[in-house]
Symmetry: C2
Amino acid sequence: MLETKIILEDKEIPKKWYNVLPELTDLKTPLMPPLHPVEHTPMDPSLLEPLFAKKLIEQETNMKDEYIDIPEEVLKVYSLWRPTPMFRAAKLERALGTPARIYYKYEGVSPPGSHKPNTSVPQAYYNKVEGVTRITTETGAGQWGSALAFACQYFDLQCEVYMVRCSYDLKPYRRIMMNTWGAQCIASPSTNTKIGNKILKDNPEHSGTLGIAISEAVELAMQNDNTKYCLGSVLNHVMLHQTVIGLEAKKQFAKVDETPDILIGCCGGGSNFAGFVLPYVKDKKNGSKIRIIAVEPTACPTLTKGEYRYDWGDTGHYAPMMMMYTLGSEFTPPPVHAGGLRYHGESPIISQLRKEELIEARAYHQLEVFEAAMLFARTEGIICAPETSHAVKATIDEALKAKEEGKEKVIAFNLSGHGHFDLASYLAFQNNELTDYTVSKADIEKTLADLPDIQL
Amino acid sequence: MLETKIILEDKEIPKKWYNVLPELTDLKTPLMPPLHPVEHTPMDPSLLEPLFAKKLIEQETNMKDEYIDIPEEVLKVYSLWRPTPMFRAAKLERALGTPARIYYKYEGVSPPGSHKPNTSVPQAYYNKVEGVTRITTETGAGQWGSALAFACQYFDLQCEVYMVRCSYDLKPYRRIMMNTWGAQCIASPSTNTKIGNKILKDNPEHSGTLGIAISEAVELAMQNDNTKYCLGSVLNHVMLHQTVIGLEAKKQFAKVDETPDILIGCCGGGSNFAGFVLPYVKDKKNGSKIRIIAVEPTACPTLTKGEYRYDWGDTGHYAPMMMMYTLGSEFTPPPVHAGGLRYHGESPIISQLRKEELIEARAYHQLEVFEAAMLFARTEGIICAPETSHAVKATIDEALKAKEEGKEKVIAFNLSGHGHFDLASYLAFQNNELTDYTVSKADIEKTLADLPDIQL
């Protein structure tokens, strides 16, 4: 009767993260090094020390340890919401009439409501241990900012979140959440930084961009010894921390004696997708027939239409250059509601897996994604974040394909976050106020043409 | 390390609800019968059949079975979020420097975010089994409406929620949630009913009251054979369904070998409080020293300043009269943010326990309640609903008292719901825009004086 939910006990929370970097060094093209943002030459990791805790830089570049211990203090905070449940979506299966068995791992049970605290907690912890007293970061819609605020309150660190002004004004709820957890949330551009002041001097009404917000957070970390910067996606150490999701999922599948045929996750910077699928990469390399699908919006089709090349991580070009799929760091995606998927680039790890064809990628339109989310809410009862809903759409499509083929496939997706703060987007969909956006190859030619051609 | 969280396995979800009614019949004053709203004489339960499913009426009046089976289909839906976790609030304890051990049962993990689906799911289920196709109800801020919408989508029932117009306009999020789950949410007063039309004729701008919304939902259920009405609190069968909370809590305390000294819950109509504490009433009667505390706002001090007497359940006087603590059914409480605690009356079961002094009651001001909620968010990481925050405040006070007395008490409260849809209230508090309200004995004298004096 109760096999719709597969739970783990507290003692089954993984005690180690899975580090895919040693695995990747065995691939045809080993992971390429980050480059200095100005000199375009491989960067010594120590140059990152003004920005990041030493332990995080060590994890960022660790090519030898397949497993890395999760500190006891981090496990303690994880246990507030981990292990997360895995569900069989039996009612969705019946609605689709599919012979496929659909499972989802539910990360929305964390206090900030997404997978983000899987990394904000260890990032805050390592900074605390190294004597840092203040953390800066940027946030778009506020998912990452609220997850970092949550982690910083836990370790009694000051937290300053630079939030893109248009989101700050239009989406107040996650901002209030950050304040409630004791963080300072500042509309960006702000008067706290040189770059902010410069931009406001030119345009006092500037509505902000993620690129500017990053620059503000980075500037403050560079200038203050007690202050470091944290990033919520893209980097290797972020992917590492998120593997706790996939490691738990593996245990859960084992409990019900299932082997997934298809793994699905939505993909912006790549962190929830990586966290879910990286522990399966070795199986795939060793001949497993498992299919791994990254899903993105047609409005920001990094993996499906971008190029694999060196590009900066940010619009302002302060961040290192990374080898990745990119639409060009000056690319501005259309305003789809899945704000967390509006990133021009892609995690270098995920990019390389795509290049090596160990994972697939596909893109969906906004309307079909919301339609899938509505069906999911009306069958399984959970209202997903618009980002997550991309994974729901791909899952439904694969389940319908299994029906056509008459095959009993096992399909699993990562439900990376709930949509409690996205109900205005659901309303816009229900009122037929949403539009589809497609970015064509031609649209991104210009931003790609602006990039320097780098040969190492 | 991980003892901050006490979890149960799926197979430990209680298979029966605990029915306190046989227990109450042993008390000094057995539970008094409901009275006909017009004739003021004891009402035959069959008169409720146009409104409620037969099985629910049977549960409402079952004075003999101490335990009642939970249907398999209900357990299946419960397992989406049950068993709910119980946490040790270790960081709050440290912040208070108290020798007390504080625990909380977390009901916010359900898809609608509160304890309400513990009863909306069985109510929808029994109606479905009896051939009902449409359910009507009323809702204030939307907690109950969204929980019923969730349950109805699960059992493929039409759901019509009459939502007080001012909330409908000012608090759109839970309304969008209801729509997403396929329910129709209608601003009340509406043109769908006689009573709605009558009120709108007099005042087309009427902002609505819970009393009017109840009358609309009831009118529609009375007129249509395929339609029944559901209520989210107050009634005996609602309290019964909620006991799943306290039954789980008992198992969880047993796992860590703890015996609670004090149980605390916030109290409006009484459902989350009853659910948490009713399984302990027998222990209390049998000599246990456990203290059980109901917490309410000073703005609606039913148990602390109301009178124990017969009154109608609704403002429009369509509902039966019940023997309960009441401020008078025409009483309108000041606009505190804890909308779920703004009810003039109190569940007859809880009222009787109060009368018999098996439970205590206390009232708090709005500002001190939000202050407690802020401390809780900054230590334990969970942002509570304003209703729940009343229980947090009482818990903190009891923990500080234990500190003064140097006693190692075990204090537990029911965290009945998260505050994701109440962040505007948190913002108002942070911006010093909230006010305290006190209702004095004199304020309620008038509404109490309007009640008929009933002697059975």
